[in-house]
Structures are given as C-alpha cells and as structure tokens.
Amino acid sequence: MAVLLEVTGLVKRFGGLAAVDGVSFAVAEGSIHAVIGPNGAGKSTLFRLLTGFHTPTAGTIRFAGRDIAGLAPHRIARLGLAQSFQITTIFPKLSVREQVIFALIAQSTASWRMLSGFPRLGGHRDVMAEAEALLAEVGLTEVAERRAETISHGDQRALDVALALATRPRLLLLDEPTAGMSPFETERTVTMIQRLAGARRLTVLFSEHDMDVVFGISERITVIHRGRVIAEGDAASVQADPEVAEVYLGSAA
C-alpha cells in the first residue's frame, strides 16, 4: 500500500521543553491507524503539528507527496487532511444544514460569492444535493433545520464528523473520537469510522484512550511516550511489547 502521510524526525519545543521529540512514522493509504500513549505523551501537540496549528521546530511532514510542515491550517485542509476535534467543535448558532453547506464550500471560490442568494447558491445545486447526501450519511436529516446548539450531544459529534467529511478529505484525523461517550455512543462511532473508511476509502488516523476501540479497529498502532515513538505495529505486536506494558503500567501506578 502507498504511504499517504509520512512524518520524519518531527520536533516541537516550547521554550526548552520538547513536547514532540523526534517522532517518525508512516500512515498507509486506506488504513485505520491509531496513535496512543499516556496522558501528556505529546499526542495533541502532534495532531496540532499535522493540522498546521503549530509550526514544527524541526522535521518534515509529507502528505500525499508534499511537505506540509509549517503550512497554514486552511492550506493543509485544502490538500485533503481534515480533522474532527477532541472537544466537539461546531458552529452553535448556525443550522445543521447551513454549516454542512459552509463546510462544503469553505475551500472553494464559492465562499467568495457575495451576491448570489443563499441557500439557493446560484448555480450550486450540486452543493445542496451533496449536503443532503452527507446529512443522510451521518444520520442528521431529521435535525437539519435546527440550530446546532440545540441538538443532542451524540448528534453534535456526528455533525462534527460530517463537517470534516464535507471537505472531501483523503485523511481524517480524529482526536479521541469516543471521549466522554456512553458505551452505546461509542459503538455508534466505531461503526461509523469503519463504515467511512470502507465506503469512502478514507484513511483514518486517530488518538484514543479506550483500548478496546484501539485494538478493535486499528490496522496499525503507533505508541508515543514523552514525545518519542516507543513502539509500532499491529495490535498483537504492540500488546506484546514489554516497553509499552511498562509505560502503561508505570503511568497507572
């Protein structure tokens, strides 16, 4: 399988402290890849580097054959790297449909149309159709007219993912997608991730604390501790790794 995302020697220092300290790994196109590690391991910083909200101190990030290290967030998004946030990040006062439409046009010149009426969007009937399809795909058709702040937490998470999908990404970055979810909601989310990866041929890179989820769906797992990669492999090999066991037991103690 081709490599979609390749991180080499990535370093991020804040003052003297290296939050990410020489991380290298590769994500294969079409795979579901997990990044795990104890609290404070550097996962969030790593994700912020990948999405352009932090600028790396050193190292390269190659995405689809291009070095994206240090690019502005919206440029990275336009190359096809989308993220869903750890804390649900939607647009509270816009309707569910409005924000899906917005996400669909955010990258295009359509967002510059100042005089064509919304929601007719001038000649953009295809955008409207795409919005409906996306709403159906994540199960939000029923609540499409509601303001996002008024829908349930589970629906908001689904909306969050729908917004990321609307950018037609090649790689979807999920930061702890099941954090704070009930077992039922977790189940729904896991199913959705697997379905998306299959149906859309999407590459998924996610961080997660729930080890059942991690070992259940990941094809490859990268373990990070104190800003460094300490292990990588499939579920079985990571579970068998003594260093990983020590880190997790050590941090639990």
Binding site: A77, A106, S111, L163
Partner: protein
C-alpha cells in the same frame, strides 16, 4: 431546500409597507420630519454596514467613523479644492473609504478581540486628529461648510428621494451580501474561527474583505450625510462617533439584519425627542443601553418577533 425565514424581522410585506410609507412621506409629513427621516436612513446604513462586522463576523470595530468621515470629507474636499464635481466625488467616496479600510484592516486584523477593537479605535482617533490638524487642507476644527451639493439635492423632497434611493440600493446589496455564501462564511468565522480555518476557509482574507466592504458602505453613509447637512467636520471621525453605529446596532439587535434598521429609527427619534424636551438624552441612552446589554442581548428585534434568526 431550506425554507426557513432568513428575514428575521424582515418580511416581504413589512418591507413593502415601509417602502410605501417612505415614498409617500414627502407628500404627507412636514419638512422637519423629512429631515429626521433622512437622518434615520443615513444612520440605518451606517449601522447596518457596521453590523456586517459586529453582528455577522464577530469583529467589534470601534473605528467605523473613520470611514464614515472619510466618505464625508471626500465630497467636501472635492468641492473645497475644486478637484471633482459632486457626482464624481459622491461615487468616489465609498471607493476611497473602502481602499483606506483595506489598508487599515490589513493592520488592525492582525489583532484579535479587545485588541482589534482598540486598534480600530486608535485608527479612528488618528484620522480624527489628522482632520483637525491639517488645517491648510481641511480647515481644521472649523470644518468645511458651503454649497458642496448641487442645488437640486438641497430641495427637501428631491434630497429625500435621493437619500432614500441610495440607502435602499445599499441596504439591498448588504442584505444580499449577508445572506450569500460569503455571508455564511463570515458567520462561521464569528461562531468558531479556528474550525472555519480547519475546514479550509481562508479566514483572514474573508475578514479583510468584510472590513473593506463595511468601510466602503460606511463611506457611502458619510457621503450621504454631506448631502443632508452640507458640512464635514473632524468629529465625524472620532471614537465617540465610531461608537454610535455599534450602539444603534446593539440596541436594535446585532444578530438580525433588521436590528440596526429598527435601532436607527428608535435611536434617532428618541434622540431628537429627548434633546428637544429635556437635557437628559445621555442618561436615557446610557440606561437603555445598559438594560439591553444586561437583559435583552437580542435587542429590540427580539421584542418584536421573538426570533433571533438573521
């Protein structure tokens, strides 16, 4: 397809009635009222243009009077120095104001939130000081008076119709902009800037475009002010003047397009009545603003329809 009413206090019937009343006004009401209505129209445009930033994009600018004043001075200076005829100056006013907004916006938008507000305020005061100090060009604190407007427009009825027509076209444009895909992008920026950027929106370019557009329409309002009063003076550019459209928009309701329109009507009439009857205009305005901010953040519009949609 979305069928939701995007009007929010604006219905086609309401707009029709308002238009009819305004068109009939010169034949029905005394001239003094006509002048009040002209003030309302100019203020409505000023506040709506400002609300493109405050209400739509979530950018609190305390410097829009700079562009209002530049619009006014464009017309006045063109006449004073014989640079251009009124018609040309009037068309140039929003363009020049927009151009200056483009440059000041590029600087001010480097800051966020409170610091953005303070930077716009500083620009407003800077232009105010320049208008006051460059005596040889602007007549300084005295301002510019004179026959800078064609005689035709000074006739109350024709002047009123001219103002009405320009304001209506400008409001229509602003309405379309606010409800276009671009307007949607601005609202997304207001709601969650970081997420809008993560979704691939060129956020800073959109903010700068909004700032430039707002400045241009504020400049147009300033040029209309000159048609109305045939004068331009430094206080048109200072921060107190900059606060006015923000206050009008907040009193009316910043989260709907109609808010600043109602705000302008209410503000101007309350102002004129209180100034004529008592000397407590400031006290009343302060108290009203206080009550709205604390208890009715949706503004007057939220009292009218209860809808806080735009």
């Amino acid at each position: 397809m979305t069928q939701r009413a995007y009007g929010g206090g604006i219905s086609m019937v309401g707009v029709g009635i308002a238009a009819l009343l305004l068109v009939a006004a010169p034949w029905v009401v005394p001239t003094s009222w006509l002048l009040v209505l002209e003030n309302v129209l100019v203020l409505a445009l000023f506040a709506t243009a400002t609300n493109l930033l405050v209400g739509w994009t979530g950018l609190v600018s305390f410097g829009q009077a700079a562009f209002y004043g530049i619009g006014a001075y464009t017309v006045a200076l063109a006449w004073l120095h014989g640079i251009a005829p009124f018609s040309l100056a009037f068309v140039a006013a929003p363009l020049i104001a927009g151009l200056i907004a483009l440059f000041t916006g590029a600087i001010a938008l480097r800051a966020r939130k409170l610091y953005f507000a303070l930077l716009t305020l500083a620009f407003s005061e800077l232009f105010y000081v320049l208008a006051e100090q460059l005596y040889d060009i602007t007549n300084g604190a005295n301002g510019i008076f004179g026959a800078m407007v064609p005689a035709l427009l000074i006739s109350p009825r024709i002047g009123f119709y001219f103002t009405l027509a320009v304001v209506m076209v400008a409001l229509l444009l602003l309405y379309r902009i606010g409800h276009s895909p671009f307007g949607l992008a601005l609202q997304a920026i207001r709601e969650r800037r970081v997420r809008a950027e993560a979704l691939g929106l060129a956020v800073s370019h959109h903010e700068l475009a909004a700032f430039t557009l707002s400045g241009a329409f504020c400049g147009l309002a300033g040029a209309l002010y000159v048609v109305h009063d045939q004068t331009a003076y430094p206080e048109l550019l200072n921060w107190v003047k900059s606060g006015e459209p923000v206050i009008v928009a907040v009193i009316g309701g910043i989260s709907s397009f109609a808010g600043p329109l109602w705000g302008a009507l209410f503000y101007q009439i309350a102002h004129d009545a209180l100034v004529a009857l008592t000397r407590d205009w400031q006290m009343a305005l302060g108290a009203l603003l206080l009550l709205v901010v604390l208890f009715r953040p949706g503004g007057l519009v939220s009292l009218l329809g209860g809808r806080e949609e735009r």
